[in-house]
Symmetry: C2
Subunit: 193 residues, 2 copies
């Protein structure tokens, strides 16, 4: 679909240069500027759609993870594997603070953070994360390390196949329970990153 290739182009261009002009995105997509405007009447429409599309891709990648019968920490490992490759998807937000105030975008964003917080709480419950560490910090650390992992791969500092595992290890041991505790429980449903 033309719409999709426009969003792909926007993601690619804006990740490298968050202030890029519409013309540059159209060029990258291989279409005329007028055609881009036919799909997205304003720049803000495009940015908003890109944000929602990025959130959708993140959802898609994490929903694919089978959670039945997996310990919560295994799920988190899979979450890292799934979303580290998407690490640059939200880079454009840094110079588009307005889009985060859009109700629909904000709702979707908050929901993903909330699902991640639930997974963190499940890990605390099964004893694989330290209850004394604020869930908000665990979530912040995961977010930061996902991007760091992506960036390290992109910069050639870390091998692509190692990146997610390194980030996962950093979180798990860094914020794991001081006492290894009882063996991880199995979980039934609902997980996310």
């Amino acid at each position: 679909m033309a719409r999709q290739s426009l969003l792909d182009a926007a993601g690619a261009v804006l990740a490298r240069n968050p202030g890029a002009a519409i013309a540059e995105i159209a060029e990258r997509a291989g279409v005329g500027r007028a055609t881009l405007y036919r799909h997205f009447p304003t720049r803000e429409d495009l940015i908003r759609a890109l944000a929602l599309e990025s959130l959708r891709q993140t959802d898609e990648a994490t929903q694919r993870i089978p959670v039945d019968g997996m310990s919560a920490d295994s799920v988190l490992a899979e979450v890292f594997e799934a979303i580290v490759p998407l690490g640059d998807r939200f880079r454009f937000l840094s110079s588009e603070p307005a889009v985060l105030r859009d109700p629909e975008v904000k709702a979707a964003f908050d929901r993903q953070l909330e699902e991640l917080a639930e997974l963190v709480d499940a890990m605390k419950a099964e004893g694989s994360l330290d209850r004394a560490v604020p869930t908000a910090w665990v979530v912040a650390a995961i977010d930061a390390l996902v991007y760091a992992a992506w960036d390290s791969v992109e910069g050639g500092a870390v091998a692509r196949r190692d990146a997610a595992a390194l980030a996962f290890r950093t979180v798990m041991r860094g914020l794991g329970a001081a006492d290894p505790g009882s063996a991880p429980q199995r979980r039934r449903r609902s997980a996310k990153g």
Copy 2:
């Protein structure tokens, strides 16, 4: 100094809105736009000076740490305490990729990363960090977690006095030696963040 308050204003404004106009920075500094241009002839000059000033502040904060007789991991703890409060100083770089290509800025930036890498290697040598983890990843994780700590404080998710310790713990336990190993050695000179 007028120059300094202009740089402060630029840092404050650009951290929130990396694409902010010169007029907005001048207004924040409480001076006319013409006055700003008298100190910094072009926008690029201002951005460049801000980058160098931020690097200088980071240097200043870390040079204050006494390293004699301290174990490398204690030094890293102090580094976190010192630079987490400066966490937003380099946010504007995200939409100013050009300034990172400036030779002077790039040299200063690389030097700081290099000094941090040296500290990490010292910690590996004294057995407080896992030798199997690439130094590049440790450095990337420290960078990412410093910003996450600052951001968590700013967003009210984490108490200001706890932030640096949480980030430090995440790195130390996350990337610490699997075997606690011999007791940390004392070190003599040179450290940095």
